[in-house]
């Protein structure tokens, strides 16, 4: 076993354990500092990853774990997300009754699961890393245990998570029972001969159901709005970004490394799921009054947009086009823009709705006068999520739609899918601008006292805004990274 390859994961686990121990000796008043320490530690690991780790294909642990471009892209993505989430939770700590030190440690353990998921090349590792992520989120979601909403979110996530786990493990058992293979590369070698085996296909379908729960795609999206609304804001932010991205990297690996031939047959299924997910998320978001619930529905819609990219890639397996990786690369690029927009929005929710019991949209009234920085960040996040130039969301959607349209001549279904997605974008303008309207033009403002923002939070907000603008205005660097990363897939 090559331990040096696993350096990201060991370092994060060690950091988490140190935090758990350090929490015992830290006086209650200073515990908040631990969050900054943890964020700084992750920053160091991210820096190390950017400087010292090269994205060459390196298998470890009997090819169960791979460190390739795709894994590295997602590892850096998860590290960046966790840093912002930790800073956000340091700001949130006065609302967490039970140990804040443990909250930081649990965020790090969930991050460990995501880092392993990014490298999983085997169903055993896929399952264990998924469980590490999910079990940690059960605790993180119900962390505010004196709040009924938070407990409800925890219980709902527990039940739906247990259900999705049982689907996944049942699916893995069927796939293993037929093919006797757990490793994705071994599976790819034998999968074509099982293309007609119903039990094998059923097993794969069940694995996809489990991953569908993770990314909150239709028809496995029911938990998302309730859990997003009830869980503490930093947890929701991490759930929306980290857990969803982990689902997508596993989906990419299973679909395009383990069983590419079967994925090619399933492009129609992916098209249908993607289209319905987009329309469902956007239509259900319209009547929402709670901003976190609204973001929950919008995250369903975004899962649909990203599935559109995966569906476009699925078609390229069968007919080799000029740029086969375009769909998958667009998914990665889109996730980059989504990270900054969602984390920016949740940081604002964390700060602006500090003294409000429910995070309802009318409570944002007058934010434009109370804190111009918060109002600007929230507006930019909404604009980016809606997909309006020049922010990151626009170019991401453009790339996804372009990849799907490139498949249109061969399969007319892709034209319909893009039409549904554009309809979804138009619908989404309505509710995203409802939020912006509440921030600037609402007349119901009861409280106009200015909001004080700490220096670290200010830096976080600037970083999110800069990220949205940078990815939108000069997409080159991230796009190159994404194109490099998807070379690990068999497209």
């Amino acid at each position: 076993m090559n331990l040096a390859l696993l350096s990201h994961e060991w370092l994060v686990v060690a950091l988490g354990l140190c935090l758990l121990v350090a929490d015992l000796w830290t006086p209650a008043s200073a515990r908040r500092i631990l969050g900054y320490v943890a964020a700084a530690g992750l920053g160091a690991i991210l820096l190390y990853s950017l400087i010292a780790v090269r994205p060459e294909l390196q298998p470890a642990c009997g090819n169960m774990y791979v460190l390739d471009g795709l894994a590295l892209f997602f590892k850096r993505f998860f590290l960046a997300a966790a840093i912002i989430v930790l800073l956000m939770s340091a700001e949130f700590f006065d609302r967490l009754q039970a140990g804040i030190g443990e909250f930081y440690a649990l965020v790090l353990f969930a991050l460990t699961g995501m880092l392993f998921a990014a490298s999983a090349n085997d169903f055993a590792l896929l399952f264990v890393s998924l469980e590490l992520i999910t079990v940690t989120f059960y605790v993180l979601a119900s962390f505010q245990r004196t709040r009924l909403n938070s407990l409800e979110a925890g219980v709902k996530y527990l039940i739906m998570g247990a259900l999705s786990t049982s689907f996944t493990v049942f699916g893995i058992a069927l796939v293993y029972g037929i093919s006797r293979k757990l490793n994705f590369n071994d599976l790819a070698a034998v999968a074509p001969q099982f293309g007609g085996n119903r039990i094998f296909l059923f097993g794969l379908l069940l694995v996809l159901v489990g991953l569908g729960f993770k990314i909150a795609a239709f028809p496995f999206q029911l938990w998302a709005p309730d859990v997003y609304q009830g869980a503490p804001s930093p947890t929701t932010a991490f759930l929306a970004v980290g857990s969803k991205a982990a689902g997508f990297v596993l989906l990419l690996r299973v679909l395009f490394v383990a069983v590419p031939d079967i994925t090619a047959q399933w492009s129609r299924l992916l098209i249908v799921i993607s289209g319905i997910t987009i329309l469902y998320g956007n239509l259900c978001a319209i009547p929402q009054r709670n901003i976190k619930r609204l973001l929950g529905y919008s995250s369903i819609a975004h899962a649909g947009y990203m599935l559109l990219g995966i569906a476009a890639s699925a078609a390229t397996i069968a007919n080799t086009t000029q740029n086969p990786g375009a769909g998958a690369a667009a998914v990665l690029y889109y996730l980059g823009g989504y990270l900054f927009a969602v984390l920016g929005a949740f940081t604002v929710i964390c700060l602006a709705l500090r003294h409000v019991e429910n995070e309802d949209i009318p409570a944002l009234a007058g934010l434009g006068q109370r804190s111009p920085l918060l109002a600007t960040t929230l507006t930019l996040a909404m604009v980016s999520l809606a997909g309006i130039p020049p922010l990151a969301g626009f170019f991401g959607k453009f790339l996804l739609f372009k990849a799907a349209l490139a498949q249109g001549p061969a399969h007319p279904a892709y034209y319909w899918l893009v039409a549904a997605a554009i309809a979804g974008v138009v619908i989404s303008l309505w509710y995203y601008f409802g939020v912006v309207h509440a921030v600037y033009w609402s007349k119901e403002a009861a409280n106009l006292s200015p909001i004080s923002i700490s220096r670290t939070m200010r830096a976080t907000l600037y970083a999110c805004v800069a990220g949205m603008f940078f990815i939108g205005l000069c997409p080159g660097p991230l796009l190159d990274c994404a194109a490099e990363a998807v070379k690990a897939l068999r497209l």
């Binding site: 440690a105 353990f109 055993a124």
Partner: protein, 166 residues
């Protein structure tokens, strides 16, 4: 020796199993649940006689340990007084008889289709030695991740169930 042990464990399993559903001493469901524990432990003894050590250990750990605790929780949360006075319903009896009959039919059919003579013992798969070797070589990484998972579960339980820290 092995034969004697087999008869002891087999009869214990049957007797305790009978006590689970029709206990002459008490109608308290908790007693039935405790007899279920004894049934499971004698079954584990049968597994040991078959050299399926891993299965025996899992039987005790998972069933006698975790599942029975769950049973007891449910029994204690339910209203026992109402349960004790409940009469047998015809529909439930018919349903029970049909399902037991179906299972019995499958069992007898499979018995009839397989020859009943002493064979060479088939090579056991999933023995403790093999399993341990796999866990610490090929599947070491998932095994280690499970340790982090258990730590998370422990921290979570302590946090969510502990008293209010003030």
């Amino acid at each position: 020796m092995q034969d004697i042990l087999f008869y002891i464990f087999a009869s214990l399993t049957l007797v305790f199993g009978f006590f689970v559903i029709a206990n002459p001493f008490s109608r308290n469901p908790v007693t039935s649940a405790m007899f279920l524990v004894l049934t499971i432990i004698s079954l584990a003894g049968l597994f040991v006689l078959l050299h399926a050590f891993f299965l025996a250990v899992v039987q005790v750990l998972v069933y006698a340990g975790a599942v029975i605790v769950l049973f007891l929780f449910v029994i204690m949360l339910l209203d026992l007084k109402a349960e004790e006075q409940r009469k047998l319903r015809t529909f439930a009896v018919i349903g029970g008889v049909i399902s037991v009959g179906a299972i019995l039919a499958i069992f007898l059919q499979s018995l009839a289709s397989s020859p009943l003579h002493a064979d060479e013992l088939p090579l056991l798969e999933g023995g403790t030695a093999q399993l341990g070797k796999l866990l610490f070589t090929q599947y070491l990484l998932p095994f280690e991740i499970v340790s982090v998972l258990l730590l998370v579960a422990m921290v979570g339980v302590v946090l969510l169930s502990g008293k209010e820290a003030k």
